[in-house]
Every structure is written in structure tokens, then in C-alpha cells.
């Protein structure tokens, strides 16, 4: 007893409250604790979100992620609480897995390192659940995977990112060879919609009403989902994290993974959360600091990752083609004659002599059959256990014929690097323009385009056939005949504006479509406003290199206008367009649109609009556009409007 008392006397001053040598060793220097609390590393591990240059709040909304009551907004309090919690006796928890030392392995590692503590500053309990999990998800590398946009599938308007965790090659299983990619793991962050009501769904989504959760699954499920069920290309970016960093990352996932993060469509979404996770792993990356203020698109997060020197390993980008990508690649690899046979085979759903197939050499037959099989994959979106229903007998015949030919499938040629999703400008842009309007007044205008891409812009990094705009605002100021300058006034809002052109070919026959909702100055009287929505469908023809595109769409516009007594109006019409991209940097667009507009009780009138625009891109950062637009019909005669604007992507 005396000896014990003596021991307390010697270390009692420093660790008066503590009751064990282990805790005493974990008593860190207060100055270092204070510095660490505000450090990027600690905040990154708590998934603090940068806002206006300062990380104030954690993105994690689940209170049980934090040890301090104020942990979501007070990193210092959370640090103090963590130090206190790590010092709790092991037997304070009936299940050792619930002890903070078992729940927060990454925090422990960070604190030990940053506070200069001994490795055994805290006891090292065996944490069965964590050990099991880390043993099961036995990985030593990480890739970021981007699921591309794909026309005619609105689910892929913005793309998506998730992580692939590469399995560690087990020396005991060396004879099996490298672990197959398909058996790797995928980590996904997604919302769990609690409603499918089409009104509530977007509202909940915008307001963060859906809980977002992490999930872990075999990579093959993701490949089947994106490549086959949704026909979206996957782009894999192997990141330069070694086995030790990957292990630390798994500890980060162990801490964060079980907790809910409210999902916001436009900023706190899947791709942003992936950036925060990578920042937690290597805080100096500061990926989330790349100016994601209001809107985060997956492609922009990919650009942030690619912009960090050495983060993506050399030659570490891989393309995993969609069913459509495979079909087009296999079709491109054929000779003209073989392609003719392919079209014949697909058109007649037969392998008979008339198609010309049996006359081909065996290897050529195999190439044609492989392309036809991809056509069925694409046409019927075959994935999982789904079987061909429209082409069942045809598929059986193809498979049976293919199995008899001793020739390997051809390799698929990867698209050029310029087609990678991180190429092209960032999705948010600001435009300033000047010109002369249809009433011969000079004007200046400003436009904010938060996302994503206009069909009049050069297509690098995007699809040449896709336009998606959300919350696009345009303001304009005019100088009238007497030289008075009006203030900058809102002229147009495009809440949602999509144009999806799907070139028709012998193999792919999807419709093109348009859908838009917005408000603008009324063409009858610019002092008045109208709100409208429009939708329609049509067809597109394009040259195989995508440089020339022509489309026609029949559409109906309807809405409310202050110019009509009864407000409600409808305007069916057509839109024809011609798009050309003679150089990668230059795109020309010619659009003609005519509509018959009527409102109950008033005579209908025809309005038309012809627009020509030429756009030139400077090195993915800026774009110069000139346009000429002439409105015809309507009540007031008008002159052509000409304008020029410069757009900066940020």
C-alpha cells in the first residue's frame, strides 16, 4: 500500500485524474492538442466540409459519429472528447467492440502520430468485429470509378463516382494468379429514397431529406449495374495509395461507414463524399477545397482528382465499356462487308446463308457473331439473370454458332484519351456578352450556368449529342433609343433544359428527345413574363465520327403568359437543328424552330426563330461564342439580334 501511494505521489500531478500508467502515457501536450484540433488532418478525418475557405461543419449528420455533443461543429471539443474516451477503462463496455478504441482506429492512428504519443499510449484491445471486417475486406489499393453520362438514359445525366477496392494478392493463393477485378470490392455512397412520389422526390432530394448511406458490395454488381443494365461506360482511375495507406483508409471507412449523411442532390452528393473520404486519407490533397460551393458534379470531382500531381498512377486509367460501347467498338472493328453481314443478321435475326455469314472466314464469323451478341446485350439491357425475351431464339442460335468457332473474341479499342470524362471544361460557367437586339438597341448580358453542358459548346469531355442545363439565369441591360441604360434585369431562367440526341444507325434506334422548364420575357411584350414547359421527341442523324449532326424534333410548349387574357397557352411546333464540329475546338449550330401558338378565345399565331451560333473553346477554360438570331412571325416585326459573349468555366 505504501508503495502504491508512493507511485501516485510521483505521477499524481500530471495525471491526477487518471488511474493507470497507460492513461498517463497518453497525456499529450496541451499546445499540440490545441494545434491539432484546428489542423486540416483532424478536420478531414471528421469529414468537415470547406465552406468559403473554412471548414466549420462535418458532413456527417449522425450524432453517434461524434463523441462530443458539439462534435459536428466543434473540432476542439471532439478532440478533447476523443482523448477522454480513449482513456476509459476497457471493461467500461460490456462489448469491447463498442469501446472508442475499437470504434475509431483511424483517429487513434492520427492522434498517436500527430501528438507524438507512444504506440502503446492507449491499451490495444482485440476488436473482434473490426478484425473480422478488415480480414474480410483484405485490400491493398484503391481506384476511383466514374460511371459516365449516357444519352437516352436520364439516370446518367450527371455521372456517378464510387470506389473500387483492390484485393490484396494472397501469397498462399499464388497459383490462382492475380485476384480477378470482378471479385474486388466496391464502396458506394447513395441516397436511400424514402418516397417514390414524383413531387416529393425532388424536394426531398434538394433539401437533404433522404438519408445517404455507404455500402460495400462485390465490384461485379457495379459492373453489371452500370455497364449492362444501364449501358454506361465505367472509367477507372487507379490512385497512388500504397498498401499502408489503403489500410488506413479501411480504418477511416470503419469509422465513417456506418453513419448517415443527409444526401443533397446538388452538393453533398456521392461524388463529393468520395472527395471528403480521400481528403481524410491524405489531408494535403485538399480535394474538397476545389471550389465546390453550390454544385458538385461527379466530373468536376474527377477533374480535382486528376489535377493532383501523381495522385492517379501513370497508365492507371482503364475503360470498362457499356453494352453500347462494346457494340459500337465491335462494329467499328469490322470491315464494310462484315458490317453489312452484321446488319443483315441483326435485321433478319437469322444466321441463314442469305445473310452472307456462312461465306465469311471463321474468324470473321466470330467477329460478326460477337457484335450481334453485344447488340442483344444492349437492346435488351441484359444483366444479372435477365434473359433475352424479344430475341431469345436468335440469341440461342448466336451462342450455339459462336461456341463452335475456335477463335478468341477481339480486343476492344479504347476511346482516345481526349474522350475521357475529366477532359473538357468544368461544369459551372459564367458568361458576359454584348450585342444589338431585335429592336436595334445595344445590350449587355450576364449568364450563370451552374451545370452542365450546352449542345452549342465544343463537346470535348462531354457527349456531342447531349445538353443538360439546370438553374441557368440570364440578366440583360439595354440602351434604348434615347440613350438611357436600363438596369440589369432578369431575362430568362432555365430551371431544367435537356436535349438528348441519339443518332440513328442500323443497330441503335433510340429516339431523340427534349424536355425543358423555365421562364422568360414574353415575346409579345418584353415587360411581361411567361413560364413554360416543353417536351417532344424526334430523330437524329449523324456521321460516324460525330462531326456532323442533324436532328428534327416535334414538340409542344405550354405554359402561362401575362400577355394572354386567359394566361394559359399552348404552342405545338417543330425544331430542326444542324450541328457541326469541324475542329475539336470549334462548334457551329444552326437551329430553326416554328410554333403555332394559341390561347383560348384569341387568334392563334405562328412564331418562328432562326439561330446560328459559332463557339470556340480556349484550352478547356473559356469559350467565345458569336450568334445571330432572327425571330419571325408574332405581333411585332423584328430585326436580327447579334451578339458575342465570353464564357469562363470555373
Amino acid at each position: 500500500l505504501t508503495i502504491l501511494a508512493g507511485l501516485f505521489a510521483t505521477c499524481g500531478v500530471e495525471a491526477g485524474f487518471a488511474f493507470g500508467a497507460a492513461v498517463a502515457r497518453a497525456e499529450p501536450d496541451p499546445a499540440r492538442v490545441a494545434a491539432l484540433a484546428e489542423s486540416p488532418a483532424w478536420k478531414a478525418l471528421l469529414l468537415y466540409v470547406p465552406r468559403w475557405g473554412w471548414r466549420r461543419t462535418s458532413i456527417v449528420d449522425a450524432p453517434d459519429f461524434f463523441l462530443a455533443k458539439t462534435g459536428q461543429t466543434d473540432p476542439a471539443a471532439e478532440l478533447v472528447a476523443t482523448l477522454e474516451a480513449f482513456g476509459r477503462p476497457l471493461d467500461a463496455y460490456p462489448k469491447i467492440d463498442d469501446h472508442p478504441l475499437c470504434r475509431y482506429p483511424a483517429r487513434r492512428a492520427l492522434l498517436t502520430r500527430e501528438l507524438g504519443l507512444a504506440d502503446d499510449a492507449w491499451p490495444k484491445p482485440k476488436c473482434p468485429a473490426q478484425d473480422r471486417w478488415l480480414g474480410y475486406v483484405d485490400v491493398d489499393g484503391i481506384s476511383l470509378v466514374f460511371a459516365s453520362y449516357f444519352l437516352n438514359n436520364p439516370a446518367s445525366l450527371f455521372g456517378h463516382t464510387f470506389l473500387r477496392l483492390h484485393r490484396r494478392a494472397d501469397p498462399e493463393l499464388a497459383s490462382l494468379g492475380k485476384p480477378p477485378a470482378m471479385l474486388d470490392f466496391a464502396v458506394n455512397f447513395a441516397a436511400n429514397p424514402t418516397t417514390s412520389n414524383p413531387i416529393l422526390y425532388p424536394l426531398y432530394g434538394l433539401a437533404g431529406g433522404f438519408p445517404g448511406t455507404f455500402s460495400l458490395m462485390p465490384y461485379y454488381l457495379k459492373v453489371q449495374e452500370y455497364n449492362n443494365a444501364e449501358s454506361r461506360d465505367l472509367w477507372e482511375y487507379r490512385l497512388a495509395f500504397d498498401a499502408a495507406e489503403t489500410r488506413y483508409f479501411m480504418q477511416v471507412l470503419w469509422e465513417v461507414g456506418p453513419h448517415v449523411i443527409n444526401y443533397f442532390y446538388i452538393d453533398e452528393n456521392c461524388s463529393y463524399v468520395m472527395l471528403l473520404l480521400l481528403d481524410a486519407l491524405r489531408p494535403e490533397l485538399a480535394l474538397a477545397d476545389d471550389g465546390f460551393l453550390l454544385i458538385t458534379t461527379p466530373a468536376d470531382t474527377l477533374r480535382a482528382i486528376v489535377s493532383r500531381e501523381g495522385l492517379v498512377v501513370d497508365d492507371g486509367v482503364a475503360w470498362r465499356p457499356s453494352s453500347r460501347g462494346r457494340l459500337l467498338a465491335r462494329s467499328r472493328a469490322l470491315t464494310a462487308e462484315q458490317r453489312r453481314v452484321l446488319h443483315e443478321v441483326v435485321d433478319t435475326k437469322s444466321l441463314a446463308a442469305e445473310t452472307g455469314l456462312p461465306a465469311l472466314a471463321p474468324a470473321a464469323q466470330a467477329a460478326v457473331l460477337d457484335a450481334a451478341l453485344e447488340w442483344i446485350d444492349y437492346d435488351e439491357a441484359l444483366a444479372g439473370t435477365k434473359t433475352a425475351t424479344l430475341n431469345q431464339a436468335f440469341q440461342d442460335a448466336l451462342l450455339s454458332a459462336r461456341a463452335k468457332i475456335d477463335a478468341p473474341p477481339g480486343t476492344l479499342t479504347e476511346p482516345p484519351a481526349s474522350a475521357r470524362p475529366e477532359r473538357g471544361p468544368r461544369t459551372q460557367s459564367f458568361a458576359l456578352g454584348v450585342g444589338v437586339d431585335s429592336r436595334e438597341r445595344s445590350f449587355a448580358q450576364a449568364e450563370w450556368r451552374p451545370t452542365l453542358h450546352q449542345v452549342e459548346s465544343p463537346s470535348a469531355g462531354y457527349s456531342p449529342y447531349l445538353q443538360i442545363e439546370i438553374m441557368n439565369f440570364r440578366w440583360r441591360s439595354v440602351v434604348d433609343e434615347e440613350g438611357r441604360t436600363s438596369p440589369l434585369e432578369l431575362e430568362q431562367i432555365r430551371l431544367f433544359d435537356a436535349l438528348s440526341l441519339a443518332p440513328l444507325s442500323a443497330l441503335v434506334r433510340s429516339p431523340s428527345w427534349r424536355f425543358a422548364v423555365g421562364g422568360r420575357r414574353d415575346p409579345h411584350d418584353e415587360r411581361l413574363w411567361r413560364g413554360s414547359f416543353e417536351g417532344g421527341g424526334g430523330a437524329t442523324f449523324a456521321t460516324s465520327d460525330g462531326r456532323w449532326t442533324a436532328y428534327g424534333i416535334g414538340l409542344v410548349e405550354a405554359g402561362l403568359s401575362q400577355a394572354y387574357v386567359r394566361r394559359l397557352y399552348a404552342a405545338p411546333g417543330v425544331q430542326l437543328g444542324l450541328l457541326a464540329e469541324p475542329l475539336d475546338t470549334t462548334r457551329l449550330g444552326l437551329t430553326w424552330r416554328t410554333q403555332r401558338e394559341g390561347s383560348g378565345g384569341e387568334p392563334a399565331l405562328t412564331r418562328s426563330r432562326l439561330r446560328f451560333a459559332a463557339s470556340y473553346a480556349f484550352r478547356e477554360q473559356a469559350e467565345l461564342r458569336a450568334w445571330l438570331e432572327r425571330a419571325g412571325g408574332g405581333l411585332t416585326p423584328s430585326r436580327p439580334e447579334i451578339g458575342i459573349e465570353i464564357t469562363v468555366f470555373h
Binding site: 493463393l173 470482378m182 471479385l183 417514390s196 449492362n228 451478341l373 444483366a383
Partner: protein, 187 residues
Amino acid sequence: MKAVLTSVSVAVLGMFAAGQAYGAGYGAAGCGLGSIVLGAKPGFMQVFAATTNGTSASQTFGITSGTSNCADKAGAATEEGGEEGEAPKKDKKKKKKNASIIEQRDFVTANLSTLKKEAAQGNGETLAALSSTLGCDAAVFPQFAANIKGHHGQIFAKNDANAVLINVKAQVGQDETLAQGCEVGVY
């Protein structure tokens, strides 16, 4: 509007084979998928589903153990190996090369349409992964692929993952090289 828009039907919940997942070949987090139908949500909903990315099989299981039957399976093995949280000791002498039955079945279920195609072609990443889950050495993969290709009609006679798996294993068993180079497990 249909409440069930898409997704995976997890038919065999809670079925797990203790001791299979841990200390064995490269299985893949199987959790007993009955059949898998992946698909995009129809029309309008896609626009919004796009931004939440909850489109289909994404939410099969939680990220850590204790939240799902799948990861529990990983855990069950360890508990068997002793409360110290170590790998089962009884398997120390030689690690099994094959994945568990459930993992094999899940793999075939999720990839059936792709396997059918790659088997007829005689090569492919998914086919190679199947070979690995059946504990086949990389060196015998060409033989594996050729064998499956040669018996394509028989093996894929029924669009049933379980039947396909049984058929593949039967073929492997009848082939001398494959019987030696693979370790298919039960069946």
C-alpha cells in the same frame, strides 16, 4: 406508380455458411442473392434517381459487419476460430482455393448473362473470375474456358444460376486436368 421500381431480390436471406468465407479463395462478399434483376428506373424518376444514385443494387449491404447477413458471414468464421479474433487455426496447413458455395452461386447469379456470352466466346474477365471462385489455377484457365465452351449448350440449357453452377462443376470433375487444377468445393 409501381412501388418497386427495380432492384435485387434477395431471396435467400440469412443463409450463411460459417467457416467458408474466411481463409479461403477470392470469394466476393456474397450474401445469398436469389435472382438478380438490375434495371434502370422508368422515365421521369430516372432524372432524380440520377442524382441520388440509388438506382439499383447499390444498397445490398451496409459497410461494416453487424449490419447485414453478408458481412456476418465473414464474422461467423472468425468466431469459430476463437474469441481472440484470429483466423481459424484448423485451416492453417493449407488455405482453400475456392470461394464459398454461396459466393460462387451469387457470382453466377449476378453475372449469368455475361457468363453465357463469354463462355461461348471462350474468354473474358467474368469467365476468368468464375474460374477463380472455383479454385482453378490460372494455368488451367485456357483448358477451363475451352471445356465450358465445348459444353456450352448443356451447361446453359436452363437459365438457372444454380443449375449452371452444378453443370460447370460436373464438367470440371470429368476433366482430368481441371479436376487436378481446380478445387471446386461442394457438389
